[in-house]
Every structure is written in C-alpha cells, then in structure tokens.
C-alpha cells in the first residue's frame, strides 16, 4: 500500500510541476507579445504613457531578469499565494477573485458529479441484461454523453427557464439580493443552482450508465457468476456480486473523467452566468486578464489533483487487494 501511495504521489507531484512549468512557459514562449496586447488594450495614445506601461508590465512579469531567476521567482510567488493582480478587477489580487468564485464551482460540481455517478451506476446495473430497459437506457445514455455540456444547459434554460418560467436563467442569486446568512437567501441560491446542477447531472449520467451496463454484462459472463448460478444462487445475489466488482473500474473511470467534468462545469457556468470559475475564465479571456486566467488554471489543476488523491484513498478502502499489496489498481 505504501508503494501504491508513493507512486501516486510521485505522479501528482510531477503533474503539478509540469503544470506550473507550462503555466510559466506559455506566456514567455508563445508567439505574440502579451505585454504588447495588454498595453494595446489600455488604448493610450501618448508614447510616454505606453513606455511607462510597458515598463510596468515587464517589471510585473519580471521580464528583465534572467530566465532561471524568473522561473525561481515564479515558484516562490506561488507558494506565498501570490498569483499577481487581476487586470479585469484592478487592483484586486487574483487569489481574492478566485476565492470568491471557488465555492460556487465546488457547490455545483461536487453534488452533480457524485449524484450522477451513483445514480448512473444504479441505472446501468439495473438495465443490463434486461431487454426492454436496456433498449431505452442505452440510446438515451448515448445521446446524453454525446451532448456538449453547454447545449443541454441552453436547452434546459430555454425550456424550464424562459418558456416555463420555473427557474431563473442567470446569476448565482437574484440581483436584488446581497449575500447574507438567511433562509430567503439560501432558498434563492438553491433556486439559481437547480438548472446548472441539473444539466451537469444529466450529461454525466449517460456515460456512467453505459459504462456500468457494459461492466455488469462482462461480470455476469465471468466464471464466478456462472458458478454461482450453477449452484442455484438467486439472480439478485449474483447481480450484487457483479455490481461490487463492476464498481471498481467505475471508480477509476471517475478519476479519469475529472478533467472532462470540470470542463463541463466551466461551460455550464458560462451559459447560466453562474459566478464560479467558468464565468471568471470567460471574463479573463474577454479582458485579456492573463494573471487571472493563469491563477484559475493552477487552481483547477490543484483541485483535480486533490480529487484524484481522494479517489485513490477511496479505492484503497473499497478494494482490499490494493491494501494487501497485490496488483489491484493500475498505477
């Protein structure tokens, strides 16, 4: 087990290192000049002002130092939680801007991912080898997984929000309200949260159902299932064993899908103008706010790595083979 965890941690450490390095490399070695584009965005005409701004940004990026020094400084600043100053919300530090958005994204993504995983697995397990259900769950599942996240979000917003008028289609809470600890505000928050949650939940649901259905069929064909049924065990019992075995690859699958799920959450937030990281990224891109964009990137990478590690721990708890040091999980 120690080997399993040390290997995982090594991979995550390396990944974080690569991500930070990429984050540092891209602004410096991409064609194009971010400083020039930021100066151009400010729309100043006087050459002295342009020169001053250029010097300011060069100093901010630390472009006047040797490369290795820039790289070391980059790491140093990051460990102090210094991601620079947002240009869109000047002069708020990027970390403050991100901290304000993270709760919304987490509040959206954690319930939708967990619920869709649980419900999708149940559906898929139930539908496998049941002709009628299988013939409905499978096509619906394929349509759902093939949908771009933002499209289902738009459709839901249109049908349930604009036409039926049941839910608001924009914002994290009503514009007339200010965030506070009260029941009315909590209800309002929930009201705004429902549609984005539902669209994330539905798109992810299809994939899990299909995956589980295939795994269950595979398990039901295996020797232990045949042996159990030869012994005269009830079908329910065999299915329960099959489910427990089939859940393991689904846990690994959850870890593999994290990136896609985060991406889905980002675009869904944009559709609903939900005040999470997705909307932040949109604003950062529209305003050429590279500090904000890069800070958000690091936050997302860090979040995905932590989630991966939690899933690894869950896997060890669920699968005794990894604890015994046998080859259970793939590293």
């Amino acid at each position: 087990m120690r080997r399993y965890f040390s290997r995982k941690l090594l991979i995550y450490g390396l990944t974080f290192f690569v991500a930070v390095t990429v984050n540092w490399l891209i602004p410096r070695f991409m064609p194009g000049d971010p400083v020039a584009s930021m100066v151009a965005r400010a729309n100043v005409a006087q050459p002295e002002a342009v020169e001053a701004m250029r010097a300011y940004y060069n100093d901010l990026f630390g472009f006047d130092q040797p490369l290795w020094q820039q790289y070391v400084n980059f790491w140093g600043a990051m460990f102090q939680g210094d991601f620079g100053i947002s240009i869109w919300l000047f002069p708020t530090p990027v970390s403050t801007v991100i901290n304000g958005a993270v709760p919304y994204t987490l509040g959206l993504i954690i319930p939708s991912v967990l619920l869709s995983w649980v419900v999708g697995n149940r559906f898929g397990a139930y539908a496998a080898r049941r002709k009628l259900l299988d013939n409905t769950v499978l096509p619906v599942g394929y349509v759902l997984t093939a949908m771009p996240y933002m499209w289902l979000a738009v459709l839901l917003a249109w049908a349930l929000g604009v036409i039926a008028g049941l839910f608001p289609v924009a914002g994290g809470y009503s514009f007339s309200m200010r965030p506070n600890w009260s029941w009315t505000f909590a209800l309002d928050l929930l009201h705004h949260w429902t549609l984005p949650f539902l669209s994330l939940f539905l798109v992810a649901l299809g994939g899990w159902a299909i995956g589980m259905r295939n795994m269950i069929i595979y398990e039901l064909e295996s020797d232990y299932s045949n042996y159990l049924s030869a012994l005269g065990a009830p079908a329910r019992l065999i299915r329960r064993y099959a489910f427990r075995n089939a859940v393991l690859p689904q846990i690994t699958g959850l870890a593999l899908q994290l990136g896609v799920l985060v991406a889905g959450a980002l675009v869904t937030e944009i559709v609903f103008a939900y005040p999470g990281l997705g909307s932040l990224i949109l604003k950062a891109i529209q305003n050429q706010d590279f500090f904000l964009l890069q800070g958000t990137f690091l936050f997302i990478v860090l979040g995905v790595l932590i989630a991966n590690f939690i899933i690894d721990i869950v896997y060890v708890v669920v699968d005794p083979r990894t604890r015994a040091g046998m080859a259970g999980a793939q590293a």
């Binding site: 991979i11 995550y12 390396l14 990944t15 690569v18 991500a19 990429v22 984050n23 891209i26 602004p27 991409m30 064609p31 194009g32 971010p34 584009s37 096509p139 394929y142 349509v143 997984t145 093939a146 949908m147 771009p148 996240y149 933002m150 499209w151 289902l152 738009v154 459709l155 917003a157 249109w158 929000g161 604009v162 036409i163 289609v169 064909e221 593999l256 994290l258 990136g259 985060v262 991406a263 889905g264 980002l266 675009v267 944009i270 559709v271 997705g278 990224i281 949109l282 891109i285 529209q286 590279f290 964009l293 890069q294 990137f297 997302i300 990478v301 995905v304 790595l305 991966n308 590293a331």
Partner: protein, 294 residues
C-alpha cells in the same frame, strides 16, 4: 510452412468478408455511419450549393425559419443554415486533425511502451499518467488564450497533443497481451526488428481496436473543440458549430427566444458524436463475436 503461407491470405480474406457480412447487417453500425456520412456530405456540398459567405450580414435579422432562410437568421441577419453547413466542415476538420494526431501519438507511445517494457515502459507510462491527470481543457485554455490568431487546424493540433494519454494506455495494455504470443516470438526469433514486429505482427492483430480508438478520439476532439469555441477561444475567423453556440449565447438568443439560433449547432454536434459512439458499439459487435446479438 508453405501450406501455412498459402492459406494465410485466403483466411484473412475470409475474415474480412465475414466482418463485412456482419457489418452491413448491424443496425447500429449502419445507422451511426449513415448519420455521419449524411452530415459529412452536407458539410461538403452545402456550402457549394448555398452560395454566399456565412458571416455576411443580411437584410432580415432575427427571422424564424422560412423558405428563404431554412434555419432562420441571427440578430445580424446572418443565414443560420449557411453557418451550419460551413460549421460542419470546421467540426469535421477539427475531429480529423485532433483525433488523428492523438491516435498517432497514442499508438506510438502505447506500442513502444507495451512492446519494449522495462525502463522504456516506466518512463512512457509515467509521462502518460502525468498528462492523463492534467485537466486538458484548462491547458488548452491557456495555450489558446496566448495564441493571437487561432485557426481550426492549430486548435486541432493542440487538442491532438493533449488527448492521446488514454488511448496510449489502452493500446499499451493490448500490446502487453499480444507480445507474449507465439507468432510474435517467432518473428523475434527470425530476427525481425522492433518496428517490423510492431507494424507487421502486433498492429494488424488489433486493427479493429485501433480503428475504434480513433473514432472515440475523433468524437472527443469535436466535443473539446466545441467547449473551447464556446468559451470564446475558437478560430478567430470563419464559423464552427461551437462558435455559433457562443454567438447565440453572447447575443442573448435564449432571452429573446430565438431557438432556431442555438438548437441547430448543438444538435449537429450531438448527432455527429452520438452517431460515432453508436457506430462504435456496432463495430465492437462486428469484430467481437461474443457481443453479437443472435
């Protein structure tokens, strides 16, 4: 030995014929590929038949579908059908480039890691795992944001460069199970090099698997590209289905009730990707006799 060599091509021919026999009778495969081909033809022929440039402003803005504008017009009077058929081209292109590059890298890494094993495998596997864990869209966001001018081809290139790890992992596992087979041993004993063994012995024996991997990568590339477009990092010129969705969202098509603006592009993407997935299940049934419905 001579009889074996003589019978081999015939046997392969037979297998191919058998696969074809089941392929044309597989409803999933036929429907899936049918939908993809129809959309592909629409994307190829549509722009030629319906003349004009897709982003031209028209005289009748915000009109619902009519005989003149089959799918209606945008707030700026752009013809949505015209945008749709041009957008299909961009979508297929990004799928081919992104899926193709990812498939090639995935195959190279997977074959070499699986066949060579040992230290080579350790290093390649570590690399695969690292890139697998990084959330791809976030990396693509950063790269595309710093790219001043973006084109469909460059978008596809970067998608390809980030999407290969799961394919590499799957192909590595398959190669692992093939490398200890007798025919591979035989080839090795007869002095064949690594590349020859991989390309002549291992790859042909999993060609169906490789093709299916490519299909999934193709669909995945389309979905990722549409997300990028939607965030506002699509190609700076031209149209794509994702860009249409982005425009519809940006100009409040939702609030204005202009459903004809945001329904077609999303439906197009869903149809292509969904049809590919269904066709893939069909292919699986054709190549794997165990899964065939009898």
């Amino acid at each position: 030995m001579t009889t074996l060599q003589e019978s081999e091509p015939r046997e392969r021919e037979g297998m191919r014929r058998e696969a074809l026999h089941f392929a044309v009778r597989n409803a999933k495969l036929v429907t899936g590929f049918g939908i993809v081909v129809v959309l592909l033809v629409l994307g190829m022929v549509g722009p030629l038949l319906a003349g004009g440039t897709p982003n031209d402003y028209g005289t009748r803005p915000m009109s619902p579908p009519s005989a003149e504008h089959w799918l209606g017009t945008t707030t700026f009077g752009q013809d949505i059908f015209l945008q749709f058929v041009h957008g299909l081209r961009a979508t297929f292109l990004v799928g081919v480039i992104g899926g193709g590059i990812a498939a090639v890298i995935g195959m190279l890494v997977g074959f070499v890691a699986g066949y060579r094993g040992g230290a080579v495998d350790e290093v390649l596997n570590m690399l695969t795992n690292v890139i697998l864990v990084i959330p791809t869209l976030a990396v693509l966001l950063i790269i595309n944001a710093y790219l001043g001018i973006r084109s469909v081809a460059v978008q596809g290139l970067f998608i390809g460069l980030t999407q290969w790890p799961w394919a590499a992992r799957a192909i590595r596992a398959q190669t692992f199970s093939l490398r200890t087979r007798e025919f591979v041993d035989l080839a090795r004993m007869s002095g064949a090099g690594t590349w020859r063994i991989i390309s002549r012995e291992i790859a042909p024996n999993m060609s169906s698997y490789l093709f299916m991997t490519f299909i999934l990568l193709f669909g995945g590339a389309i979905l990722i590209a549409s997300s990028l477009d939607f965030i506002g990092l699509g190609p700076t010129e031209g149209v794509s289905l994702g860009l249409m969705l982005q425009n519809a969202n940006q100009w409040s098509a939702l609030q204005l009730g202009m459903w004809w603006w945001f329904v077609p592009p999303g439906a197009g993407i869903t149809a292509i990707v969904g049809a590919l997935y269904v066709a893939n299940v069909g292919l699986d049934e054709v190549f794997n006799p165990k899964l065939r419905e009898t």
